[in-house]
């Protein structure tokens, strides 16, 4: 019984601490939240630009090796973040091929690592969604004279609400990730320290209440971002229907 009581107390402490940090607009908190958001949103921007059209193209174009490509893409969703982190580290290290870019231990390196992590997710979900639409649309669109490229673009636009979910899935994966950003970012204070690496750090310092509080704030952050995306999507679609 003592164990459960302890845990409950810890959680309560964490909750109160979280509220305290938020309402007090704690400067350190704002900094790591800001960096977490910009790194993950940057990664989402890259992953979306590459992944969404890639998925649509896989859905629309038929080519030799299409099936294998789809299988590979789905498998890449499961790439371990630490593995990506390590690979990007070796690439960006001064002793590595891209060392001259001097990108290691910077936020840019973190954006790159997260983009690599989430592009397969966005692309695979895009492929799935676009393929569903393609099967319904393709006869009619071909009849109207659409080329595969036309169909790709039309389907991407028509599927925009579902594709937003794919993007949000990517964002969720990115902002919750700690292994890759730790390795390529170095968790440097006031520079490459994000929410997840701070949680890891505070845990290793035994600051369990603070680590937990940050975890709670991270969840809240994710809810807020998803909420904003959902509301934006809703209002856009509703405005179209009511005109």
């Amino acid at each position: 019984m003592a164990g459960t009581e302890d845990t409950a107390n810890n959680f309560l402490d964490a909750l109160l601490l979280a509220l305290d940090l938020i309402t007090g607009l704690n400067a350190g908190l704002i900094e790591i939240v800001g960096l977490s958001l910009s790194v993950s949103l940057g990664a989402v921007l890259i992953a979306g630009s590459i992944g969404l059209p890639l998925g649509a193209a896989l859905a629309v174009y038929n080519f030799r090796g299409r099936q294998i490509s789809i299988v590979l893409l789905n498998a890449l969703m499961g790439l371990p973040p630490v593995f990506i982190g390590l690979t990007v580290y070796l690439l960006l290290s001064r002793s590595g091929p891209l060392g001259a870019l001097d990108l290691l231990f910077t936020p840019t390196a973190m954006v790159i690592a997260q983009a690599i992590l989430i592009t397969p997710i966005v692309a695979a979900l895009s492929r799935q969604t676009c393929q569903g639409l393609y099967e319904i649309y393709q006869e009619q669109l071909r009849s109207l004279g659409a080329t595969p490229l036309n169909m790709m673009l039309t389907i991407l636009w028509d599927a925009r609400i579902s594709l937003l979910t794919a993007i949000m899935a990517g964002f969720g994966r990115a902002i919750a990730e700690v292994g890759a950003v730790f390795i390529v970012g170095g968790n440097i204070e006031n520079f490459t320290r994000v929410m997840t690496t701070t949680i890891a750090l505070e845990t290793s310092k035994g600051n369990l209440a603070l680590a937990m509080a940050l975890g709670i704030i991270l969840v809240l952050l994710s809810i807020v971002v998803n909420g904003v995306a959902s509301i934006t999507a809703d209002s856009v679609s509703r405005s179209k229907a009511n005109r």
Binding site: I136, Y137, E139, Q140, R142, S143, L144, G145, A146, N150, T154, W157, D158, R160, K240, A241, R243
Partner: protein
């Protein structure tokens, strides 16, 4: 009209090892051609081969006219279930024209004209997928009409509609014919065939059994399959 007649020369279509269509036929200018036959007779495949959605396994599909016209015939198709894009009614109408890189003012003018002709002017800015089945089918007709096609193929366009919407659609089809488009249409509704048809193609088991003017077909069909079909006997159209 200079792309007609359309000729199918020794055309066959196989799928999954089975022969689903075999025919020689010429479709000319003039009255509405109705394609009749029981379920599985190959009507839908026939239409798609004519339209170019399916490539024949053997044989040629030939349009008439100068090469550029014949190779890129201005024709359109309306399907049994209308597929509308997630955008407004007028944007759906404009879609085909945009694909053909038509000028903005041309698009605007044709779209508003067709909207009026299919009776959907009020729904212009509504999300097309929120329209009723009948409205969507009228919109689909409009989408084809706006391209000013020389030939319009229709695959059972009223199969899913109630009598009221069916009547509206038939009126529009006749309007499209009047504006100079050749109509080629499948139906399983004999009443509709009698109302609209001037020329009948009768398919059975993937083969073309009869091709004659409507009056002749309905009054004195030549083949036993046609007679059975017109008598309302249930035929499954396969061997």
């Amino acid at each position: 009209m200079n792309i007609l007649p359309l000729t199918l020369k020794n055309v066959t279509y196989y799928s999954g090892g089975k022969q689903l269509l075999k025919c020689n036929v010429t479709i000319s200018e003039g009255p509405n051609t109705m394609v009749l036959g029981p379920n599985g007779a190959g009507k839908s495949i026939f239409l798609r081969v004519c339209h170019g959605l399916l490539k024949p396994t053997e044989g040629q599909v030939e349009w008439t006219g100068k090469e550029q016209d014949a190779n890129n015939p201005n024709q359109a198709m309306v399907f049994e279930k209308p597929i509308m894009l997630q955008r407004t009614a007028e944007e759906n109408l404009a879609y085909g024209l945009k694909l053909r890189k038509a000028k903005k003012d041309v698009i605007k003018q044709r779209v508003s004209q067709v909207l009026q002709r299919v009776g959907l002017t009020e729904a212009a800015k509504q999300l097309a997928t929120s329209l009723s089945a009948g409205e969507q089918q009228r919109l689909a007709l409009g989408r084809a009409w706006v391209l000013e096609p020389d030939v319009l193929f229709l695959d059972e366009p009223t199969a899913n509609l109630d009598p009221g919407s069916t009547a509206e659609v038939e009126i529009i089809i006749q309007e499209i014919k009047k504006s100079g488009t050749k109509i080629v249409m499948t139906t399983h509704d004999l009443g509709q065939a009698r109302r609209l048809g001037g020329d009948i193609i009768f398919l059975y088991g993937g083969a073309l059994k009869e091709h004659s003017p409507a009056e002749k077909f309905f009054d004195s069909p030549k083949t036993k399959e046609a007679r059975a079909f017109l008598n309302g006997e249930i035929l499954w159209g396969q061997d």
